[in-house]
Amino acid sequence: MNTTKIMTIGEIVGSLESGMTIGIGGWGSRRKPMALVRAIYRSSLKDLTIVSLGGADVGLLCAAGKVRRVVAPFVTLDSVPLEPHFRVARQSGAVEFAEYDEGMFMFGLLAAAHRLPFLPTRAGLGSDVPRVNPDLRTVRSPYDDGEELLAVPALTLDAALIHMDRADTRGNGQYLGPDPYMDDLFAKAAGRCYVSCERLVGPGELDGPPQTLLVSRMHTAGVVETPNGGHFTDCAPDRARDEAFQRHYATSAADPEAWAAFAERFLSGDEAAYQEAVRRWREEQEERAR
């Protein structure tokens, strides 16, 4: 099989539509497909439902007014606990929020990945999660125990965006860091999954233990090479989180004027312009430190 699934960032984002439910892989501020998120930020898409173990992906898209609804157990930058844009969006009532427990969220993806309507769990029972998600239902065990459990509905996605350390031109994705997060579940829960990667290789050239081959081409619709495309999130082993830049992002995001300047400097051009702007920013920081 010689056909490639190579696409451009523009082609991937151009294939998405307003109103879609889009899953975004990674976890918090770790291995997020930020190059694709930045492209959505610049796009004309709107009214999106974002399903995410949320970080700056959710924050940026909220800041750009792209989001109608967020489905998430948290939104955090990890080393910066609270995501400023998400806070503003929630506190101003700009977005709807389906707040799930982490285990519920995983079961929702698992259900969608296996074409099940729901999966049962105890997680969520007794908490206010059912109160703030009045659509949630419980289900009673058909066996002798008769236990009542929360029926987590399938989190079926129109599209998923994930960022891999490596991918091949056929769309197979590989992770080389310590944690796969839920990225393979996002891929299987989605009608189509797009993979961005730090480095694109030819078929058969994904080096590493077999268990690092996380996402199969049978589940991917397109692949794009985006070196440093996870920036500023953690992308181990190739790149650690850019903590200094994340602090700059978080500080800027907490203040409308500072954010306008940040957006003008970093987010007004394409991905190459972003990477160049970050490079120049880092040079300035080093200059100042001298």
Partner: protein, 250 residues
């Protein structure tokens, strides 16, 4: 050796895992993480602890140190499956906690449009309904210890009782450790009880920093001092950079 307040808190957190055997000691917050590793190094050697990430470390590692040799791998998905499986005792933080141990890390104010959006419920609902749970709260105040939490993220004893004995059979809040004292829920209705006050803290101070009526049974003892060996392990092995003092000031 005389212990600082932070060191008393670390030993009090460690006590939460006493008797747990071979379970994952999942910890959040500096003194809680140090406590888990201290318990493993001393009276509870069967515990499993992480590097703060996906690795189960072969030995308890100093705070913030690289994992070193691993004895297991627990990426987030396996951690969430372990919550369902049950061989885990978690010590979480809380932005709000009430008399029955309901906790909130999600949002303060009306949920629909919160005054302050916090993290989200994260794993708190599943943790509390599936695993033994304790809490580490570094700043005990009436802002945290409130009559009623705004959003129940972690399930308390009144909510567990409403669910009935089957659904709540894995629920259990073990202890709450703060910078002022130690608390449990060993009362007939599961209301929070003052177990001990840290050296130098009075019962009145604890009551004044708590926004609901604590159960106080007779004379309240002092929280135990760390042993000399525990202090050595905290100071020389687990936390030589004294990060504990950033969380609890002396």
């Amino acid at each position: 050796m005389s212990a600082t307040r932070a060191e008393i808190c670390v030993a009090a957190c460690a006590e939460a895992w006493r008797g747990d055997g071979e379970v994952l000691a999942a910890a959040m917050g500096t003194c809680s993480i140090l406590g888990a590793r201290l318990a493993r190094l001393t009276f509870e050697p069967g515990l499993l602890t992480t590097d703060g990430g996906a690795m189960l470390t072969a030995e308890p590692v100093p705070f913030g140190a690289p994992a070193g040799p691993a004895e297991g791998w627990m990426p987030f998905r396996d951690h969430l499956w372990l919550v369902q499986n049950g061989r885990r005792h978690v010590m979480m933080g809380a932005s709000q906690i009430d008399r029955f141990g309901n906790t909130n890390i999600s949002a303060v104010g009306a949920w629909d449009r919160p005054k302050s959006q916090l993290l989200g419920v994260r794993g708190a609902p599943g943790n509390t309904i599936c695993n033994p749970t304790s809490y580490w709260i570094p700043k005990h105040s009436t802002r945290v210890f409130v009559p009623k939490v705004d959003m129940v993220s972690g399930v308390g004893y009144d909510r567990a009782a409403e669910l009935g004995p089957v659904a709540s059979r894995f629920h259990g809040l073990r202890r709450v450790v703060t910078d002022l004292g130690v608390f449990d829920f060993g009362t007939p209705d599961g209301a929070m009880r003052l177990v001990s006050t840290h050296p130098g803290v009075t019962v009145e101070e604890v009551a004044a920093a708590t926004g609901f009526d604590l159960v106080i049974d007779g004379d309240v003892p002092e929280t135990r001092q760390p042993t000399d060996e525990e202090l050595r392990l905290i100071r020389e092995v687990l936390d030589p950079r004294s990060l504990r003092d950033r969380e609890v000031r002396t």
